[in-house]
C-alpha cells in the first residue's frame, strides 16, 4: 500500500532515448584537401564518413542525418537532396527513378541495408555534381571555405526538423507561427529531437567570416545544439570557440589517417549517451575576437560604445562607427591610455587552472596554403 505515492506515479518513464539528428558540415575546400592528400585523401575521408553516418543511423531507429558541404563559393546540401533537384524522392524510397540503371543496381544490392544504400547514393551523387560544377575561377577567387553559410543551413534544417518531429503535429501544421513564437514554452511538452552539428574542418583562417559564424554559434548555444569540431588541418580560433560555447567536442587528430576511429569513439555518442561519458574538449581555448573592419584576429582592439563592434585600428573614417554610424572618436582613447594596456590585455575566461596563454601558443590565423 505504501507504494502508492507521487514517486510511483509515472508508470514507465520513457527509456527510449529521443531520436537524434546529426547535421554534418563537411568542409570540401579543394585547396586544403589537396594539401592533405598524402595522409588522407578526400575519397577515403568520405568513405570513413559514410560508415560513420551508417553507424549513426543504426544507433537509433529514428535517427536522422543531414550533410552539408561548405565549398569555396557556396554551401550546398549533400543529403537530403534539395527537392528541386530530384524528381521527387518520396515515400517508398523511389529515388532510383532518377539514378538510372546504375543507381538501381546499387539500391537493390541485397548485401546492403536499404536505408544506408539510399543515403550513400544521394551523398555521393551530390558530392560528385558539386565537384564537377567547381571551376578554376571559383578556386582562384578564395582560398577558404564558406563555413558560416553551411552552419546557418544546418541550423535552419535542424529548426525545421525539430518542428516536424513534434507529436502535436496537427497543432503545428494548423498554426506554425504560433508554435514558432512560443517554442520555448512548448518545448517541454514535445518529444524532443536532440540535434547536434559536426563540422569536419580542413581549412584554416576563417576570420573573414567571424560575424556570421559567431552569430550561428550563439544561435546554436541558445537552442542547446552542441557543435562538434573535427579539425583535420589548419587551426582556427573560431571553431574552438564554437565547440566551447556550445558544449561540443573538439578533436584535432594527430593522425588524420585514423579518421574513422576518431569519428566512432568521440563523435558517435549522442547527447543522451554523452551524459555518462567523458568527451574530449578543446582544453585551452583562444577567445580572441576578429575585428569588424579587416577581419583580423586581434589581441587588443577598440570597441564601439554603442553597438560593441570591434575595430583593430583607431583610425575610423569621419570618426563614425562602421557598423552603427554613431560618433566614435578612438584617437582620444588611444592617447589617454598610457602603457597600462599591454599588462591588462583582455579579460580572459579561463577553464580550470590551465595557465598557458593560448594567444601566445596559437599562430595567428594560419591560413590554408594555396595549392597548385
Amino acid at each position: 500500500m505504501n507504494a502508492i505515492d507521487g514517486t510511483d506515479r509515472q508508470i514507465k518513464t520513457e527509456e527510449v532515448p529521443p531520436p537524434s539528428l546529426l547535421a554534418i558540415v563537411l568542409d570540401t575546400n579543394p585547396h586544403a584537401w589537396a594539401h592533405l592528400s598524402s595522409t588522407l585523401p578526400l575519397s577515403s575521408a568520405v568513405s570513413a564518413l559514410l560508415v560513420f553516418i551508417n553507424a549513426h543511423l543504426a544507433s537509433g531507429n529514428a535517427n536522422a542525418i543531414a550533410v552539408i558541404a561548405s565549398h569555396t563559393h557556396r554551401a550546398a546540401f549533400l543529403y537530403p537532396t534539395p527537392s528541386s533537384q530530384t524528381s521527387k524522392s518520396n515515400a517508398n524510397g523511389d529515388v532510383e527513378t532518377n539514378g538510372g540503371e546504375k543507381g538501381n543496381a546499387a539500391l537493390e544490392n541485397p548485401n546492403k541495408y536499404r536505408p544506408f544504400a539510399i543515403v550513400e547514393q544521394e551523398i555521393l551523387n551530390n558530392l560528385n555534381s558539386l565537384l564537377t560544377e567547381t571551376h578554376e575561377l571559383h578556386l582562384t577567387s578564395t582560398p577558404t571555405t564558406l563555413v558560416g553559410g553551411a552552419l546557418s543551413l544546418a541550423l535552419s534544417y535542424i529548426a525545421k526538423s525539430t518542428l516536424l518531429a513534434s507529436p502535436v503535429d496537427t497543432l503545428v501544421s494548423e498554426n506554425p507561427l504560433s508554435a514558432l513564437a512560443d517554442s520555448e514554452t512548448m518545448h517541454a511538452q514535445r518529444v524532443p529531437l536532440t540535434s547536434r552539428i559536426l563540422i569536419v574542418s580542413v581549412s584554416g583562417d576563417l576570420a573573414n567570416q567571424y560575424i556570421p559564424v559567431m552569430n550561428s554559434i550563439f544561435a546554436a548555444q541558445r537552442k542547446r545544439i552542441p557543435i562538434d569540431i573535427l579539425k583535420l588541418a589548419g587551426d582556427t580560433v573560431l571553431l574552438q570557440q564554437a565547440s566551447d560555447a556550445t558544449g561540443g567536442v573538439y578533436v584535432k587528430p594527430e593522425r588524420p589517417e585514423g579518421l574513422l576511429q576518431y569519428l566512432m569513439m568521440a563523435f558517435l555518442p549522442d547527447v543522451t549517451a554523452r551524459r555518462s561519458l567523458v568527451m574530449p574538449s578543446a582544453g585551452g581555448v583562444d577567445f580572441r575576437a576578429a575585428c569588424f573592419c579587416h577581419r583580423k584576429v586581434v589581441d587588443i582592439g577598440y570597441v564601439c560604445s554603442v553597438c560593441l563592434s570591434i575595430f583593430c585600428s583607431p583610425n575610423l573614417p569621419d570618426n563614425l562607427c562602421l557598423t552603427c554610424s554613431s560618433y566614435l572618436s578612438l584617437r582620444s582613447a588611444q592617447t589617454a591610455t598610457p602603457a597600462l594596456i599591454p599588462r591588462k590585455k583582455k579579460k580572459k575566461k579561463r577553464h580550470g587552472a590551465d595557465s598557458a596563454t593560448p594567444g601566445g601558443s596559437t599562430p595567428v590565423g594560419s591560413s590554408t596554403p594555396l595549392h597548385g
Binding site: M1, I4, G6, R9, Q10, I11, K12, E15, V16, P17, P19, L21, V51, N54, A55, A58, S59, G60, N61, A62, A64, P80, S89, N90, A91, N92, G93, E108, N109, P110, N111, K112, Y113, R114, P115, F116, A117, I118, E120, S161, L164, A165, P167, V168, T170, Q189, V191, L193, L260, Q261, M264, M265, L268, P269, T272, A273, R275, S276, L277, V278
Partner: protein, 469 residues
Amino acid sequence: MSASSSQALEYLELLPRQTHTKLYEQPSTVLAIFRCMLPHLAKSIVMAMLYMTGPFPSGDLDAWFKPDGKKDKEKALSVLEQLHIILGKQDSQRHISYELYKGFAHSLRQALTGGGTHRSFGVPSSQLDSNKVSVTFLDEYARKQWENILFYMVGSTVGLTGSNMVGQDIGEGTKALLRAGDFVKVAHGRVSITRTGFTFVLQETNAQVWSLLIVYLKHAPQLGMSETDVLSFLFMLGSLELGQDYTTSTLSPTQLQMLEDLSAFGIVYRASKTSQTFYPTRLAVTLTSDSGALSSDSLSSSLAPSSRSTPKGFIIIETNYRLYAYTSSLLQIAVLSLFTKLTTRFPNLVSGKLTKESITRAVKLGISSSQILSYLTSHAHPQMQKNQPFLPPTVMDQIRLWEYEGERVETTNGFLMKEFATESEYRDLVSYAESLGVLVWRNDAKRLMFVDRIEQISLYLGKRKNRGD
C-alpha cells in the same frame, strides 16, 4: 530499446553461445540486434570498439565513463557479455580488457559498409510483377489478419462469439500456436482467454507480434525447423522495404515453410501459396524498429507517413473516471469492455466509466492494473498526450488502489543470498546487483539480499574469486 524489443532481448539472452555465434554470421541479424536490442550506451561501446585495432583495456573504459555513469556502464557490459558480443579477457597481470567477438565484429562491419556477398538483406524480385500490390493494400491485409487473431482471443470472453461481424476464422496452425503459448485455453469446444492472453491483448501491436513470434520460435524445433534459421529470417524481414516484392528463390526450405505461417499472421503477404514473390507488411518492417517512435515517419524519407495498422490514440479519460473512446472498431471496444463499464455507443464513439466493479472484475480475470494503465497510456488521445503524465493522476492511483485491495502480498521468484563472510563483500555484491537492476530486497543488519536473476551474479562472484585470491 522499447518494451516490445525487450521481450525479444530477454529471449535472446537465454540462448546458448553456439546459437549466438551462428546467428552473428548474418550481417542483417547483427545489424537488427544492434539497432533494437542493445541499450543505448552499449551501442556506443560497441561502435567505439568496432574499428579498434587491439583490445580495449577496462581501465581505459572506466576512464571514458563519468563516475555517475558507472551503473549504466555495468548494465551495458552485462547485456553485451550475455549476448556474447564482447569478451572480457584477463592477461597475466590480471588486467581485464574487452574485445568484440570476431564473428560479430566482422558482420557488423559488413553491414555498415555493405560489403560481402551474404545477400542477407533480401533479394528483390527481378521480374516485374503484373499484379503488384500497394502499400495501403498491405496495411489493410496486415490489420485484418492481426485483428482476426486478437478477436479470436477476446471474442469469447466478451460474449461476441458467433456474431458475424468479424467473419473470417483464423487458421488451425495459428490456433494451435495460441494454445501452445498459453494465450487461450479450449474447454468443451469453447475458447477462453488466459492471464497471459490478457497481457498479450493489452500490449502494443509491435509487442504483440514479438510475443507471438517468440512462442513460434520456442516451438520451432518441434516443427522441425532450426531456431537460428527462423531467427535470422525474422531479422531479415525487419530490414526489408515496405511495398517491395522479394523473391523466394533464395530462401531455405525452413524459411519457405515459415513464410506460410507468417502470411497467416499477416506479417508477410503472398498472392498465392505457390507465388514466387512475397511482400513484407508493416508488421514485418517494424519488427526491428520502434513502433512508438512517431517521429520516425516524418523524418526519414524512406518511410511513408501513413497511418499505422492500429490507429493511435483515441481514448480520453476525465478525472471523474469517465472514459470516451473515439473508435468504431469492435476489437477495441471488446478490449475496453474488459475493464470499463461501457454505457453508450455512437457511430464513432463509445463512452463509459471506470468503476470499482469493472476494475475488480478485470483483476479477477487476471488483468493487472499496470496492464490497464499501460494500455490506456499507449492509446491516449493526442489531446491527453499534452498532459504529463498522460492520464489524470487520481485515476491512475485509484485503479492501483482498487487492485491492491484484493492482494496484499507480492511474490517474486528468485534467490536469497546469505552468509557473506565480510561486510565489504556484502556491500560490493549488493551494489553490483543494484546496478544490474536484479536486487529485489536487502537486509543490511543480517547481510541478506534477494535477487531475481542469478546468472550475472554468479559470473561476477567467480570472476572476483579469480581476481581476489
